[in-house]
């Protein structure tokens, strides 16, 4: 499963490269612990844009409640994608 998580992180970084308010230099050392708000100085309004782009990228749809409770780290987003994928399969 480690590989799947890494593949999702790689895809997430591809999404982040399309977000102009993210400094590309900060995408060099992204880990699961990286925090969008504090480590990437991202405006909180961008989080929802990233969620919408991630849905497109991974062909999943998140539940509104999950988005409402979404944390601001890479791990939080990876977990959410896996959860949505699992739901999709079921």
């Amino acid at each position: 499963m480690v590989n799947e998580r890494q593949e999702i992180i790689d895809g997430l970084i591809e999404v982040l490269r399309t977000v102009r308010t993210v400094d590309p230099a900060l995408l060099e050392n992204v880990t699961e612990e990286t925090d969008f708000l504090t480590d990437m100085s991202m405006p909180s309004t961008e989080l929802i844009n990233i969620a919408a782009k991630v849905e497109q990228k991974f062909d999943v749809e998140f539940e509104d409640d999950d988005i409402d409770e979404l944390g601001s780290t890479v791990k939080d987003v990876v977990d959410l994608i896996l959860k949505a994928k699992a739901r999709g399969v079921a």
Partner: protein, 449 residues
Amino acid sequence: MPIQGRKVAIVGMGGAFPDCADLAVFDKKIFTGQSLIREWPKAVEFQKQIRSTVSGYIDDNDLGLEPIYYVEGYDWPETFVDTLGRIPDINLSTADLGSVWAMLGSLESIRMAGWTKTETQSERTGVVIASGGAGNVIMRHAWHAFFEFGKKSRLAGSHTVDRTMSYREAANVSCLIKNKGVCESITSACATGLGNIGYAYRLIKFGLQDRAVAGGVEGTSIETFIGFDAMQVLSKGFSPAESSRPFDTSRNGFVCSFGAGIVALEEYEMAKARGATILAVIDEYFNNSDGDGNMFYPSYDGQRRLWQGLMAGAEIKPDVVKVHGTATPVGDIIELISVVDTLGEDGYHISAPKSQFGHMLGAAGSVELITALLMLKNQQVPPCLNSDTLNHEQEKFQQKDGWAGSQKPAEAYRHLIPQETVTKEINQVVCLNYGFGGTNSAMAISKDN
């Protein structure tokens, strides 16, 4: 109320102009009599769905802008990249195209004005900018994803509000330059551009602000274009350069164009004290309404009262009258006669710059004021392109009972409307703009003596 003796100077200008990389190119093209109107590929795409396909439109590349598209299948820019590094990405992320132009014009105006950071960011510096239309491009795609595709609302992105709200241009400029004074938009359809500058003038004249960045914008939008196309009021049947024909007998509508015009205003004595270049002094601004209950039809009475109001507040003896002159069948000649009946039949020229760049809607008044500032600088009147033949017979409205204006046909005033660039002494220009709803605006500007 106005403070006696307090004057307002224009100390900077900038914007976004069709088929021009910058203000210097705009200046050159206007005064060498060139047309900025071209066949618009975006309109041509729609083939028989659309009547008119000419526009004074702006290429993103010309302004150093690159659109970044959202995802495949969504033909709308999520944001723009400023390839010349003038606007930070965080500011671009909250801006629609018109707001980007407003920011570029504001930066250019402030640079020309020579304001320090402290002056720009003062509580005494305001921002008053608006556009005529809504954020149509962004809204259409946001709504389409929701209503037609049944997508979650978040697919519209988190910037639908800041990129479409009525005062988006003012908000984006204020967040960019960080002024601490007024930040507002005044909208009045096609009088918006002049109206915002007029309102900013009053803020300074009344002592509420010392400086203001002000103007009007109309961002590129096929959605806006088709609204006017539907009304059958757009020019049709001419080559692009011949499409905008103010006063000409064969005129059949205006050319829908896009752009932005921004000026920097400053209390006169402060500007003089710091050695600023004074582009012009604003003598007076006046606005009113027709009051006849007609949304569209121009009013001779409303325009005569407009002149009276303007003249009540200042000495008005213009060398040039920059008219609204859209090239619609009725509007041009009513306006021509209201000018002539006010000023007489000689001693000034009439300039209709829409003949060169079309009708920029919410930006019209401000871009045309910039054209008037260039007239003062160059001491030249640009030509009224395509005003080839003026009617030698009376207009129908002149034959109606109750018509109170001149009985002469338009041809009697041929000498007022130059077909080539005229060089002459120009000390004062009066600018006129009107909008749907019967709103009328007039501003007089003079060279600094």
